[in-house]
């Protein structure tokens, strides 16, 4: 609670979530309705709080609806990442030996690819949709989670409670599920929030490049798709989606940092 940026982040995220969740309910202009008469309307004119884009669509409305998409992809991708990563990390850390070595090398190999190169290559080959975006982001982001979960597993497996469980005849799976994993939740939670941040960022990259969420469906990334051409006429089209992305990603990052500090007993918070 003393970690002000983290608490602030929760507030921001809650606001974003509410805004995105209720985007349909608020009395805002239709985000995909083209109104050429309102083309490039500056903010606070013609009923557009944040202005209108090149097809006369309301920016604020699109922003909130896009938020829905981007945040959903972020959280969903996180679930894929964390599930897959925790699974691999647990297996690698618990069984050690050859399995660990192989998994470790595979992790290293995947980490050697620049993330966006790999992501783009996959994104270009799958039909773009929420589900496919979620999957490919998840499938290319599990490495970090695997590493930290594995490290934690290696540390925990020698502890007394694990030896006790083994002594009582618990099977490997049982030990992993009921003893090791619950003690890793804190670490996984931190990794999860950070991976949401990363996923939102990655989705915006692919969508900006045109291979992610396709128009007329809006995502923060694809709202910036042609923004470069409209600098002279409507800079607000380019400014607001970027602010939204930055806000969301920063919040999740601070949240993750705050969680990390909360879980780490050695960390001393600055005196007020």
């Amino acid at each position: 609670m003393r970690h002000r940026p983290a608490v602030g982040s929760v507030v921001v995220i809650a606001l974003l979530g509410l805004g995105a969740g209720f985007a349909g309910g608020l009395r805002l202009p239709d985000p995909i309705q083209i109104q050429m008469g309102h083309k490039f309307a500056p903010p606070l004119t013609k009923g557009h709080v944040l202005g209108a884009d090149e097809l006369g669509r309301d920016v604020l409305s699109r922003l909130l609806h896009a938020g829905r998409i981007s945040l959903t992809v972020g959280v969903a991708a996180m679930l894929v990442t964390v599930t897959f990563g925790a699974l691999l990390g647990t297996v690698a850390g618990y069984f050690r030996g050859a399995i660990d070595a192989v998994l470790l090398r595979i992790t290293d190999a995947m980490l050697s690819f620049p993330p966006i190169f790999l992501l783009l290559a996959l994104a270009a080959f799958v039909p773009p949709s929420l589900a496919s975006m979620t999957l490919i982001i998840g499938v290319t982001s599990w490495m970090d989670v695997t590493r930290i979960v594995r490290a934690q597993m290696l540390a925990l497996r020698e502890r007394e409670f694990v030896q006790g469980a083994r002594g009582l005849g618990a099977s490997g799976a049982r030990i992993m599920l009921r003893h090791l994993l619950p003690n890793t939740v804190g670490i996984i939670a931190v990794a999860a929030t950070l991976s949401v941040a990363r996923a939102i960022l990655l989705e915006s990259y692919i969508s900006y490049l045109g291979y992610g969420i396709q128009p007329p469906l809006a995502s923060w990334g694809n709202m910036l798709n042609n923004a470069q051409s409209y600098f002279a006429s409507a800079p607000w089209v380019a400014i607001f989606p970027g602010i939204a992305i930055t806000l969301a990603v920063t919040s999740f990052n601070f949240l993750g940092d705050g969680l990390r500090d909360a879980f780490d007993p050695r960390h001393v918070l600055p005196q007020r």
Binding site: D108, F113, F117, A124, F125, Y205, L209, P235
Partner: protein, 317 residues
């Protein structure tokens, strides 16, 4: 030392093999296969398509294709671009210098700035500077690089008109160092912002850890001047883990370079990759994917070597 070296070399080789397999699988998972782009052409008859498929070796079993491809790569034949038929190796190597210029300049500035701010932040922990920097670097890490680039273009090229909005040099003009540098500023700065933030955070953390060590306290107790303690003793030891960081950051620098190159129409590997995706130019895509991954593996290997050279404890383990 030898055992460490051999172990690292073996690991790097295994990773390289795995990298090649992953890369190959990724690009051959494409629906329709590499010949798909030709299949859409109305002038292509079924027999032509079959013949093309056979010529490109695409009708052989996948493992065999992989082996042939690896053999080709190792002997210098990276295939031909689907777009214009030029050898892939030529196309790719052509673009390397541009990307290297961008990456190296961004890297140097970012590391320099990052180290500096990280050290100051650590030495003046909890000061206003420290708090601002910590907050600032977190935000900097969260800004989408392409948006930062767009904003930079808007402010400096459109509004103020002092810097060019893209490309490596003025089109049509001869080479002029000043002109090239002016074109380099925005892309390198955009790419560097995220790197500065990362390096600053890690330097700060590493310095804080080192400053807390006993030998620092001993040096101060002995009467060594504060500046000397920071620079000579603390910094030298704090830099060691940062060597590994340099290696680990490499893939991210490539990624950032891709985005920066796209926004600023910089003629580098990243933009070639994006263009090639549009053309479904698989040979070039494969070449780029593999090249970057190999460069990353080599970079990490080098970082490990430097680390071992600098930290004797590693060699003796």
């Amino acid at each position: 030392m030898h055992r460490y070296l051999i172990r690292r070399i073996l690991q790097a080789l295994i990773v390289l093999v795995l990298v090649s397999i992953v890369g190959f699988l990724v690009l051959h998972l494409a629906p329709g296969g590499p010949a798909a782009i030709y299949a859409n052409s109305p002038t292509m008859s079924a027999e032509d398509l079959d013949r093309l498929t056979h010529e490109l070796g695409l009708d052989r079993p996948v493992p065999e294709q992989y082996v042939r491809w690896v053999g080709g790569v190792l002997s210098g034949n990276w295939g031909r671009s689907y777009r214009d038929g030029r050898p892939v190796r030529e196309v790719v190597l052509d673009r390397i210098p541009a990307t290297m210029v961008l990456m190296v300049s961004a890297f140097t500035v970012a590391v320099g700035l990052g180290l500096f701010t990280g050290i100051v932040s650590a030495v003046r922990q909890y000061s206003l500077f420290d708090h601002l920097l910590t907050f600032g670097s977190m935000v900097a890490l969260s800004i989408p690089t392409f948006w930062l680039g767009l904003m930079a273009i808007y402010v400096f090229a459109v509004l103020l008109g002092v810097l060019p909005p893209g490309n490596m040099g003025t089109i049509g003009a001869d080479f002029a160092l000043g002109d090239r540098l002016r074109h380099l500023v925005l892309p390198a700065a955009t790419l560097g912002v995220v790197m500065v933030a990362t390096w600053s955070r890690y330097t700060r953390a590493s310095m804080l850890e080192v400053i807390g060590e006993d030998y620092i306290r001993t040096a101060r107790a002995k009467g060594v001047a504060r500046g000397a303690v920071i620079l000579k003793h603390a910094l030298k030891n704090a830099l060691i883990p940062l060597i590994t960081l340099a290696g680990l950051q490499l893939p991210l620098v490539f990624s950032g370079a891709l985005v920066a190159e796209t926004v600023f129409t910089w003629p580098g590997m990243g933009r070639l990759f994006v263009d090639s995706i549009g053309y479904r130019d698989y040979p070039v895509l494969m070449g780029l994917l593999m090249l970057t991954a190999v460069m990353v593996v080599l970079g990490n290997f080098l970082a490990d070597l430097v680390y071992a050279a600098v930290d004797p404890r590693v060699r003796l383990s």
